[in-house]
Symmetry: C2
Subunit: 204 residues, 2 copies
């Protein structure tokens, strides 16, 4: 691995039941050149949470200034707190050669693609609607109605998969992580990012 | 590997001394879903060459008809004989789920990209000019002048690398084949090619 190569921004989305976390976790084990992004939030720290590791904790006013100044690649509100992806942090890690993973929902992914056109976007898809339902039933004890609602929401998210650069089907987490790994390796071979290597051959 | 997935057309170029054949050979060992294209040629068969395996042997008139009719993805003349890539053959193999490899020079690759916009193009680059020279000297006993000429020609070809989708640096053939493998795996995950899988999730 050439550490002079800039890392990628890898945006990963997928509905509840797609098995996204497992696949990302496996990818993190497979490669030492990837890391998670650290979000900025207005939420107060919980016991044990470390500034700059779990989150960057800021006041609502500071958050608004960051958003207004274009310092966030995306931002969203969730149960009364604001969350955002700090552009400078992501850029710094990428310059250090690390590819930065963002696990994010569809709307946030859209903001990222607008603000960072060289981001690599991947949608993790369940293998079928039936399997998606099985996984959603398996992992909680909600009522049938609640599960039908979650299933509908998950399918609504899947309908957005075509807006991503790549789709990885998570039938088997190991195979899916292997495909994510291949996507990252391939994206690092893009000619547009390697013209400096051509120059090296031509002048040496 | 989902055999319902259409294979890719993988166009590979690289100068003499880049180690292209070794890398491609290693890729063929790694995957069972790739095959070489079989060219059409006006050259007479040599002893042992098999029609449809080594080449499709045709008359100059037939070749011209194929070219005029748009049945060749690219064609070129080499020491008085014509060679071309048959569109139908490539398409048929791809529909069978095989990715088809074309080992081709820069001009031919340009024709392919025009005639087959979904082709995946990769340039195999030597790690440096010095290493390129070492490899060219190592493998033949030509005069210094002849080698300088070959080196210049190889560098002229490298200067075209930016026109390809990907650049793979062949420092180590095993690593380079691994990158080719990743590129093929990643390209098969392109969202545009997988919208049928999204539909499956939505309707099942």
């Amino acid at each position: 691995m050439n550490t002079n190569e800039k890392g990628k921004l890898l945006v990963i989305s997928g509905p509840s039941g797609a098995g996204k976390s497992t696949v990302i976790g496996r990818l993190m084990e497979m490669r030492d050149d990837v890391c998670f992004s650290v979000s900025v939030t207005t939420r107060p720290p919980r016991p044990g949470e470390v500034e700059g590791k779990d989150y960057f904790f800021v006041t609502p006013q500071h958050f608004q200034e960051l958003a207004d100044g274009g310092y966030l690649l995306e931002n969203a509100e969730y149960v009364g707190n604001r969350y955002g992806t700090p552009r400078g942090y992501v850029e710094q890690r990428r310059l250090e050669g690390k590819s930065v993973i963002l696990d994010i929902e569809v709307q946030g992914a859209g903001q990222i693609q607008k603000n960072c056109p060289d981001a690599v976007s991947v949608f993790i898809l369940p293998p079928s609607g039936a399997e998606l339902e099985r996984r959603l039933r398996h992992r909680n004890t909600d009522s049938d109605e609640k599960i039908r609602e979650r299933l509908l929401q998950a399918k609504r998210e899947c309908a957005e998969a075509g807006k991503y650069g790549y789709i990885v089907v998570n039938d088997d987490p190991e195979a899916a992580a292997g495909q994510l790994d291949a996507i990252l390796t391939a994206e690092k071979c893009r000619a547009a990012d390697r013209l400096n290597l051509v120059t090296e051959v031509l002048i040496s």
